[in-house]
Amino acid sequence: MSAPTETALGLTESRSAAGRALKVLTYLLVLVVFAGPLLALLVSAFNHVKDPTQLSVVPSDPTVDNFTVAFDQGVLKYLLNSFFVVGFGLLLQVAVSVLAGYALARKRFRGMTLAFVAILATLMLPEEILAIPLSVILADLPVVHINLIGSLAGMIVPVGAWAFSILVMTEFMKEVPKELEEAARIDGAGDLRIFAQIILPMCKPALGVIGVFGFTMIWDQYLLPLLVATDSSSYTLPLALRTLRVDPLVTPGVVMAASLLALLPSVIVFLFFQRSFVHGLSSGALKG
């Protein structure tokens, strides 16, 4: 880099040895504080950690026993439940978001402002505030009278519509040039064709953003599965960690092994789609 861009602190300018050492020291400290605990988790998952004091970042006597015990405790089943929920939940969420985004971005119609405000309003209504009525409603959905308590569907359907994804899709779809759509309309294409063959293919970057955010959002769900799951057969992995911990036969090493399995999917998704993630984070927050 011949011409470093100016930064607020102007740290790139410091070329002296002392300045450099300070910079490296700062980075090391940041790594220790934020990645250190996760390294301890990783190392402990592969170590004999029989009580909490043995948590360590230094590998000694590596083993996979923790995973064997964890699988005996049904962790594989919980992991599969989690994948099931995140798979179908994300599929539903993305489908719902692109459809709604198309209407909000490409159409002008009476009641549009109302629909938009309603979607924005849901941002003020998180699961936490609705926990009590949700536990009642999920047991007996109004009109259709379906009981979702105790089934994985109860963790999937409620996350199907997410205002964040809809808003990201809407913003992006607004930027597809009008001429393209008009040309297709003159050729006699209907809305469904325009949506599927013109608008949607142009929104791949936005699909990446809502895909990554949807994945981490659904994977991180805790309260909703807590309301829905009635017994261990419908536990997701994050939910199962607590029951694992209170089991007297389960050592902290086993809890760390299960935790590793619970964090790997979202960390992998983040590392692979980092650009989508950071892009969505900044645009979503700054537009706010």
């Binding site: 607020a8 459809l99 849901t122 209504l125 609705l130 359907v157 930027e175 393209l180």
Partner: protein
């Protein structure tokens, strides 16, 4: 914006190539209609009033079922004594009176505010510091930033289990042995009523600061470089430059982060539920853990719903308040 350019670049050839290919058979289709066909077709095709609602229907139905009906139901439940199978009894404002006069709830509300303020301030301060220290380009820097961001994508349940173990209260617990190195005695952390709140706050900041850092970095990228040059010419010190150029440039980001963090702070549940579940001795009981216990463990749904409605009103007031404050500041 780059995405717009991409879209336009992609649009060019597509717009040019499709119409000629289709133009051939088109005139033969509408018999005797004459030249103004395209306009009429467009009106018929794009003009049905219910088309947009069809596209919106899945989202609106899901929101109706899992957001709006529950909210309406929280409101009605909050005025009722909810008795499954026996039918609900209207009790007026009794549930609200119970909640507001209960020492437990008032204490929990105070804890929630303390936790929200501490976590918000801590995360934003640390996040801003990190962003200032790690602004810039370069592979190594990018690696450090990504590593620092990891806590944000780790599921909250994992964060709680990990920190529970790190907070082990004996001398040889992980964090206590670190404290021992710098000469501080072992702390009870989440197991001691005096330190439990600070410990939860610390875990929250650990997970919140990197998130704030990323947003601040995006904000920093938007600060006008010319202003830095101008400040340099004027002989401003590093501190003055940050105080008078960077921070004003970050105002919008600061407001948004504040709203997001404060609202998240008020409805804090999972980390408290898993780290202490309100203990020891009620020292970390927050509004959401009280509501959860009332509604889902003791089955006092009406009282729990009243608490939830109050929590909703608090977040609503906060959001509207910050927006009003911000608007006035802009004028």
């Amino acid at each position: 914006m780059t995405s717009l350019d991409q879209v336009k670049a992609a649009a060019g050839p597509a717009a040019g190539s499709t119409p000629p290919a289709r133009r051939g058979p088109a005139p033969t289709a509408p018999r005797g209609a004459g030249p103004p066909v395209p306009r009429r077709v467009r009106n018929r095709r794009g003009g049905r009033w219910w088309t947009p609602w069809l596209f919106l229907a899945p989202a609106l139905i899901l929101f109706l079922y899992f957001k709006f009906i529950p909210m309406a139901s929280a409101l009605t439940m909050s005025f009722q004594e909810v008795q499954p199978y026996l039918g609900n009894r209207w009790v007026g404002g009794e549930n609200y009176a119970t909640v507001l006069s209960s020492d437990g709830f008032r204490e929990a509300a105070w804890h929630t505010v303390v936790l929200a303020v501490g976590q918000t301030a801590g995360s934003m301060l640390l996040g801003l510091t990190l962003a200032l220290l790690m602004e810039g380009q370069g592979r190594r820097l990018g690696f450090v930033r990504s590593a620092a961001f990891l806590p944000v994508v780790v599921p909250i349940a994992v964060v709680a289990e990990l920190w529970r173990i790190m907070y082990h209260p004996t001398e040889d617990g992980m964090l206590n042995s670190l404290l021992g190195l710098v000469g501080f005695g072992p702390s009870g952390f989440i197991n001691d009523p005096d330190t439990s709140m600070v410990s939860i706050m610390l875990t929250g900041i650990w997970r919140g600061a990197p998130y704030d850092m990323m947003i601040f970095l995006a904000g920093l990228a938007g600060v006008d470089r010319g202003l830095y040059e101008a400040a340099k010419v004027d002989g401003a010190s590093r501190f003055q430059r940050i105080r008078h150029v960077t921070l004003p440039g970050l105002r919008a980001v600061l407001t948004i982060l504040f709203i997001l963090a404060a609202i998240r702070g008020l409805r804090v549940f999972t980390e408290v539920f898993l780290l202490t579940n309100g203990g020891p001795d009620g020292s970390t009981e927050v509004v959401m853990t009280v509501i959860y216990k009332l509604g889902l463990e003791q089955n006092r749904l009406g009282v729990g719903a009243a608490g939830a409605v109050l929590l909703f009103l608090a977040t609503l007031l906060l959001t509207v308040g910050v927006h009003l404050f911000r608007r006035r500041g802009n004028e």
